[in-house]
Symmetry: C2
Subunit: 417 residues, 2 copies
């Protein structure tokens, strides 16, 4: 079978399965998730063998070390995947939950309840654990799923997804609800993007290139995730010790993730007091500094930042710094260069804190806290399928609730209009 | 200026205006809506003159009578537009409303509040009143808007939108928040579809051709509206008098709208008793009947329905009828041919009513009521910008709430992760 026919058939099977999966009671879904967790642990050695082959092939291609680390599985990581499945089983099931209801003057009763979206296409890159995480969240929220992982993890993902699908089916999940696209052909993503009418949404997780390709070309609705040019603004009169702690945390606790800070803005009245301390702390963490003209006067060994720096998500130990004359300039800079992810102000002034939260256009706007908290687990959702940086459907960390749609249920006694 | 540059500039202006509009207090928005209503009434004669020119040009092109009727404005219709603006002013403002909040174990406080989407692109066909309705709903919900009406209504829409924009500006709405695309070039829609990063969403209202073109080609997220192949299923043991009233209402009260019924399904045990009565009532209303084989045995003058009939939105006085052997066959038929809009079961059986609501995949699922109620006003939203037939962001009638996004506001005291 060619690629098109294969993927089309898989999507059709997923759609058929989604009808039955969507009305399945929670206990069956939860039992299935437990069984899936058990299957991964029981067959860990098969997963590790496949993963070893993936790693060897990637090494031969001369893949970067950080990439290999993300691809690599060991016993601990498999247990972590299984734990993720169990944690998802323990979360409340959003499906069927009432959101709103009314009785109209003519007597019809209208309720809006949460229902599954239907069939979700997940397109992701190297980490094989996403296979288990995405499968768990989609099934728990009553959605069928088409999984398309990165080609470097093909062998690992193939084994993981087939263990998961088998365990799910045996525990009562409709056959075909969990589909793995077993191909390393780049065109597989192209085929998914044309599955309008079968796929209800595509959620890409990965680099900006992948995401922008899908956003531009997909006929299926897309939820954009993950691009994060996050800022921290140190306001006039801020607690500079707090600002330093927040800045160091936001930049260095995990520089490769989307909620890490890329640019620090500092009020001109604090620049002379703050920037030398900042430079020292960042140097200790081996962060390369790039600054505006005024910054370079204070931090004399900082490189000059270019226009491109303000618009770059480094995902690395690099920080750009700009001195601004007031909060207006800070807000203007952020709304111009940010990606709508997470922004923070460090301030003692209530009015400016409020203005910042009102006027900054982003999924999460912080006062006196690190942008690193933008995360489904940190927000208490118990899980996360990605962080939406768009404004439709879901914005910010996406948990189970964000994988649902709604339906109006109306009861009448013969009403006509 | 060429078309591309013109539309790009308008979108940029709208985006700049949206920042200020998004944080504007309700009273200013409401006063502006009142002023806009007054402007339409005060300058009714200018609108009518422009509308006359549109009508003459359309008549010369030999446009259909029903189309001319939709294009036509008179004093009453202008008052109705103005009243719509005033009603929108009187609705509660969703912006800033809290949706959810939590305090996390580390002490950070997280709130999710409603914010405007940003800049909305409205693409619509002949009715000039959509210009006023859409402008009102977008401004009230804090969104800037790019309006692109049908070319036949260009002169009417130009006058209406310029009166609205002027009145809005004078009442304190930021300049540029209401933009009218003053071109009858079909490529204008193409330009809008490429405004990724400036437009946050496109909402098309009109025929299936327009909507499908935008869904397929747009790089900007789209909310699909309005396609309605709606069904009524008359169950075994249903109250046949009620079923008849509902069917006649759903088919004939306004056959050209999307929530009208296109196909009636009837349980085989009720077919002989029900269909002759139905045929008589429908004949009185001049409805053409097309049936399955069994239907044609009972209603001998019904035409034979083809596969295409089941998949057609007639928007006209035509009804297709199919006899089914049970509720399973009814659900299967509906989930195969429907467009996810509105479906109804007429039944006395609680369990089957519940199953129908659970298993039918549509925005609105009725028990013992006409599908014609799927409408923002009938649902009590006080307004409607369209009826979404997709599952992301909004499903069913879209009022002010559906024109909002969300933002997480987080307060901390120096928390780091």
């Amino acid at each position: 079978m060619n690629l098109h026919d294969m993927i089309y058939e898989q999507a059709k099977e997923a759609k058929a399965a989604s009808r039955r999966l969507g009305v399945l009671p929670s206990p069956i879904k939860n039992k299935a998730l437990e069984a899936m967790a058990y299957a991964l642990e029981e067959r860990a050695s098969v997963i590790l063998t496949a993963n070893k082959e993936d790693l060897e092939a990637a090494r031969k291609k001369g893949t970067k070390r950080s990439f290999l680390d993300r691809l690599m599985l060991d016993e601990n990581r498999i247990h972590a995947m299984a734990d993720g499945l169990r944690q998802t089983a323990a979360l409340p099931d959003p499906i069927g939950e009432g959101e709103w209801e009314t009785v109209r003057p003519n007597g019809i009763e209208i309720r809006r309840v949460k229902v599954p979206i239907g069939v979700i296409g997940m397109v992701y890159e190297a980490r094989p654990n996403v296979t288990a995480d995405a499968a768990a969240l989609c099934l728990k929220s009553g959605n069928a799923v088409l999984l398309r992982g990165g080609s470097e993890a093909l062998r690992s993902n193939r084994v993981i997804s087939s263990l998961l699908a088998k365990a799910a089916y045996e525990a009562g999940i409709p056959e075909g609800a969990l589909q793995f696209i077993d191909s390393d052909d780049r065109e597989a993503v192209g085929e998914m993007m044309r599955l309008k009418g079968l796929l209800d949404v595509i959620i890409p997780r990965g680099g900006a290139g992948l995401i922008q390709r899908i956003v531009k070309e997909s006929q299926v609705p897309v939820i954009e995730t993950g691009a994060g040019i996050c800022h921290t603004f140190v306001d006039e009169g801020a607690d500079l010790d707090m600002a330093l702690q927040i800045a160091v945390n936001a930049k260095t606790s995990r520089p490769s993730v989307c909620n890490a800070m890329e640019t620090l803005l500092v009020h001109e009245k604090e620049a002379e007091a703050f920037l030398p301390k900042l430079a020292e702390a960042m140097r200790e963490k081996k962060v390369e500094l790039r600054g505006c003209e005024r910054t370079c006067e204070i931090i004399t060994d900082a490189e000059k930042a270019t226009e491109e720096d303000w618009a770059t998500e480094y995902d690395d130990l690099i920080l750009s710094i700009r001195v601004v004359k007031d909060i207006d300039e800070a807000i203007e800079h952020i709304n111009r260069y940010n990606t709508g992810h997470s922004e923070s102000i460090v301030t003692c002034d209530l009015q400016r804190a409020h203005r910042f939260q009102q006027e900054i256009d982003a999924a999460a706007v912080y006062v006196n806290a690190s942008t690193r908290f933008t995360d489904g687990f940190e927000f208490g959702f118990g899980a996360e399928i990605g962080i939406s940086t768009q404004k439709l459907h879901a914005r910010g960390p996406m948990g189970l609730n964000e994988l649902t749609s709604t339906k109006y249920l109306i009861y009448g006694e013969g009403q006509i209009r």
